[in-house]
């Protein structure tokens, strides 16, 4: 059980830079998720932590120990592969027992531990079967059991749920999280699915193009995105983005989006100083836009915008409304079932407390 | 701290693994080739054209006949084999009951030596053989057809052609069949949906997609044809000279090592030329196919 530190990890494959100078600290016993689109370098980072790849630059530390060039078996990590990598020529029991056998543990201890791991994963009655006799979900459990049986320093998981069907995936999400809490092993989990990341991670490291965009708790990632990439990657439907020009006057601070104008309180002047006259990207999540009828306008700070209903998605639990405001579409999300007539006029209220503003050059958040 | 030495050495592991095999091959092919040139052109320390002269001008040398028959055999046999193999491959591509059994049977000739093939057809075509007996008992002929013996040279050629077709069609078949498997069923079905009938599907979809396999099959079959030996020797001896047969004869019977070496070099040169042509024309596709 250790904490993991990455310092300046860089890895190239030919001309492509897969991982570009990554620093990361993972706490002992923490469940951290590397989240990002495919090709962002998350799997490569995981494999570097595992020892399956060696970085071109940088160091990996387990605790105080520099493990950068150690082979995997000297790091005492465990890994659950995306394809499970359960050996077809061994029984389930032998698969799970393998790490223990290599360590040279006595036979009865092996049997004991294998049974423990199998029970935890509810595959205790499958121990004598061969992988080809199991379903995908069962094979996945074998892979997880094998990974935890040896009580590793670090548990690594590479998109372990992506090959399961939707229902099973949801079930395994909670099972894995509960399992991790129970055995308290430092876990690094790679996925491109933001729902997985948000529900399972103690903290999330969002990655893009080989760099870490932000590290934080799910709540921080969601409510305080530090750049436009993180803001746009997490959250469904995606956050609304539109360009606006900032104008600062003694009376008000305004965001001029062309089709409409948003007035901000003077207290924002400090933060937005220096962007006078400049163009910025404004972001607001669909659930922070409401039909003005439904909102107690006096009890908060809202900006009203007029538009027409362009498209409605009725999901049952939520209703998503695409509102046409001049040259743009703003997406609004309401809970419950609501009826809107296509093409009808509608006035929407933007919650100014939940507004995000990003610089146009770097994508970094100003607010 | 730079990378540990072990890591740097790891880069050379693949080369170390491949080196022995490569060295062995280069020696066992490079050295004989060089030695062949020496045997052909060097005698007692000096350059000599003695062997070449024997080859080209001596009345007991059958070089030009051998060249002629080797090429003639290839020219006659290969097109027939390609046609039959193509038909068989498309036929066997259809899934019918017993297809797998038929498949294994059709490739059976691949597993036997060419000498064995020659002997097998000898049992069929000899004067008391199956073929003659059958025809005589059916009343089609009254005297056995003679396939062997110098005075029946043209019949010997026919026997060789028959045997070669029986023996080596499977080589072409296997390549075409494998290639056909790679042609996605969906591509053919799409053509069907858009109105193409069986012949049109064959012509516009299957045949073009099969071309790489066809080219590979042709080249490989031709390369083998340059080396034809066992079948000819068992059925016709020297009545039908071929390059490999003459090489064997000169070396083993006459001990004309230099002459035999030249035959070997001729075969090698023809093969290398053909191979070079092939690689030059189709190299990119070859690597794409991902051997």
């Amino acid at each position: 059980m250790v904490d993991v530190h990455l310092r300046g990890i860089t890895k190239r494959f030919g001309r492509t830079v897969a991982v570009d100078g990554i620093d990361l600290d993972v706490n002992d016993g923490e469940f951290i998720v590397l989240l990002g689109p495919s090709g962002c370098g998350k799997t490569t980072t995981l494999r570097i932590i595992a020892g399956l790849e060696k970085p071109d630059r940088g160091r990996v530390f387990f605790g105080n120990k520099d493990v950068t060039y150690l082979p995997p078996r000297e790091r005492y990590v465990s890994m659950v592969f995306q394809s499970y990598a359960v050996w077809p020529h061994m029984t389930v029991f032998d698969n799970i027992a393998f790490p223990l056998k290599i360590k040279g543990l006595p036979k009865d201890e092996i049997v004991c531990k294998v049974k423990w791991a199998a029970e935890l994963l509810q595959i205790g009655d499958l121990l004598n079967r061969y992988p080809h006799q199991l379903s995908g979900g069962q094979r996945q459990r074998v892979a997880v059991a094998r990974a935890i049986v040896v009580e590793p320093n670090v548990l690594l998981m590479d998109e372990p749920l992506s090959n399961l069907d939707a229902l099973l995936r949801v079930r395994m999400r909670s099972e894995l999280k509960k399992l991790q809490r129970k055995i308290k092993v430092t876990t690094i989990y790679v996925t491109h699915d933001q729902v997985e990341a948000m529900t399972m991670g103690d903290r999330i490291a969002v990655m893009n193009a080989g760099k870490i965009m932000q590290v934080g708790t799910p709540e921080e990632i969601y409510n305080k995105p530090q750049n436009i990439f993180v803001a746009g990657f997490v959250g469904t439907p995606q956050m609304n983005f539109f360009d606006a020009t900032i104008s600062i006057s003694p009376k008000e601070v305004a965001l001029d989006a062309g089709d409409f104008k948003i007035s901000l309180e003077p207290r924002f002047t400090e933060l937005l100083k220096g962007f006078e006259g400049k163009s910025v990207t404004v972001g607001i999540r669909p659930e922070h836009i409401h039909p003005s009828k439904y909102v107690a306008l006096s009890e908060g700070r809202y900006s009203l915008v007029k538009g027409t209903v362009d498209f409605v998605e009725a999901l049952g639990s939520d209703t998503i409304v695409h509102v046409n405001v001049g040259s743009r579409i703003l997406v609004m999300k309401l809970s419950g079932s609501h009826h809107f007539k296509l093409g009808s006029d509608i006035e929407i209220a933007l919650d100014l407390d939940k507004l995000h503003i990003f610089r146009k050059d770097s994508g970094k958040a100003i607010i | 701290m730079s990378k540990p030495n072990k890591l740097i050495l790891e880069r050379y592991v693949p080369y170390i693994l491949i080196a022995p095999a490569l060295a062995y091959l280069l020696f066992f092919i490079g050295y004989p080739l060089a030695q062949a040139i020496v045997l052909a052109f060097i005698k007692e320390g000096g350059f000599t054209l003695e062997n070449i002269n024997y080859l080209l001008y001596s009345p007991s040398s059958k070089f030009f006949e051998a060249l002629y028959f080797t090429l003639l055999l290839a020219l006659v046999v290969i097109p027939i084999q390609v046609a039959i193999a193509l038909g068989l491959a498309t036929l066997l591509n259809i899934k019918f009951r017993g297809r797998n059994a038929a498949l294994y049977i059709i490739i059976l000739p691949l597993t036997i030596s060419d000498v064995a093939a020659g002997l097998i057809w000898y049992t069929l075509l000899s004067p008391n053989g199956f073929f003659n007996k059958l025809l005589m008992n059916l009343g089609v002929i009254s005297e056995p057809i003679y396939f062997f013996g110098y005075q029946y040279r043209h019949m010997e050629f026919l026997a060789i052609v028959l045997t070669e077709i029986w023996r080596a069609t499977a080589i072409v078949f296997v390549i075409l069949f494998a290639g056909l498997q790679l042609v996605s069923g969906e591509l053919i079905e799409a053509a069907e949906v858009f109105g193409a009938n069986a012949w049109q599907r064959l012509k516009y979809i299957i045949f073009p997609l099969l071309k790489p396999s066809l080219q590979a099959a042709l080249i490989i079959r031709t390369l083998f044809a340059f080396q034809v030996f066992g079948v000819v020797w068992t059925l016709a001896g020297r009545d039908i000279p071929v390059l490999a047969g003459e090489a064997y004869y000169e070396q083993v019977e006459l001990r004309h090592t230099g002459v035999a070496a030249i035959y070997a070099l001729v075969i090698a040169a023809m093969s290398v030329a053909l191979g070079y042509l092939y690689i030059k024309m189709f190299r990119a596709k070859y690597l794409e196919a991902g051997t």
Binding site: A50, R73 | V13, L17, A102, S113, W166, I188
Partner: protein
């Protein structure tokens, strides 16, 4: 998928469909008979009673004898068979010892020059190997390997090596890489992974490749004939001695040459088509 002519959707009228089926089965039967009949006839004739053979009215003999095979074995075929087995086994040992590591390297590593090296091996595969026989005679005389099974085995190894490299490369590549990586994670060294994960999974394919190599060596006639005099392999022996003998000896000869190949092929039949397709491509 239903190949060229047939599809469940555009099924022609029942009569036409039936006719098509009949045609297919007819053609296939002709092909199968065309291949099998010579085998059947030659096997029969290997044991045919001489009187029946020469009798003009008997097409398919009913009387059989083991005489021909016995005579052939006594003539020297028995020791020739032993020689062939020795040569073939040595060939397998040498070619796998050299070729297996190279195959693994091609399958698992990326390195500079990989494509060119692979192309080189493929070209060597297409090289007419019989060409090395004549020069090797002189070399073998000098180093004392002439007329020996070892000498033939070394030449056969050169013949089989490109095939072994390519086929083992394909076999190893077919084993999912993450099975090996899991081995690394869970405690094995690279060598350990190769022995305990890769090899067990590769074994069936490797066994079939070994069988194919055996057959290649067993059937090879030119090199063996040139390189040996008294210690002949079976094909060489038959080429020289049996050719001058009676018809019956020839028939018996074809039988004993063909038998092992047919047995082995039956055992390894599943792998053969894929393997031949790969190697001959």
């Amino acid at each position: 998928m239903m190949g060229v002519g047939l599809s469940m959707e555009a099924r022609p009228s029942p009569v036409k469909y039936l006719l098509l089926r009949v045609l297919i089965y007819a053609l296939v039967s002709i092909a199968v008979l065309w291949v099998l009949t010579p085998f059947a006839i030659s096997i029969m004739y290997a044991f045919v009673d001489p009187k029946q053979y020469y009798s003009k009215s008997v097409i398919i003999p009913a009387l059989y004898t083991l005489d021909h095979v016995r005579k052939l074995l006594a003539l020297g075929a028995y020791s020739a068979i032993i020689n062939s087995v020795i040569v073939a086994v040595l060939t397998i040992v040498f070619s796998f010892a050299l070729g297996l590591p190279a195959g693994y390297a091609f399958a698992r590593y990326t390195f500079r020059g990989k494509d060119s090296l692979k192309l080189l091996i493929i070209s060597l595969r297409m090289f007419p190997i019989i060409v090395i026989a004549v020069p090797l005679v002189t070399l073998y005389i000098r180093i004392g390997l002439s007329d020996s099974p070892l000498g033939v085995a070394l030449a056969h190894t050169a013949m089989a090596l490109p095939f072994v490299v390519l086929i083992t490369s394909s076999i190893f590549a077919g084993i999912p890489k993450d099975l090996e990586e899991a081995g690394l994670i869970f405690g094995l060294s690279r060598a350990g992974v190769f022995l305990r994960i890769t090899m067990p999974l590769a074994l069936p394919g490797l066994a079939a490749a070994a069988i194919f190599t055996f057959i290649m060596s067993w059937n090879e006639v030119f090199i063996a004939s040139v390189l040996t005099l008294t210690n002949r392999t079976l094909p060489a022996f038959i080429l020289t001695s049996a050719m001058a003998a009676t018809d019956f000896i020839k028939f018996a000869a074809s039988f004993i040459m063909v038998l092992p190949a047919m047995i082995f092929v039956f055992i390894a039949r599943k792998y053969l088509i894929t393997m031949w397709g790969i190697t001959l491509r």
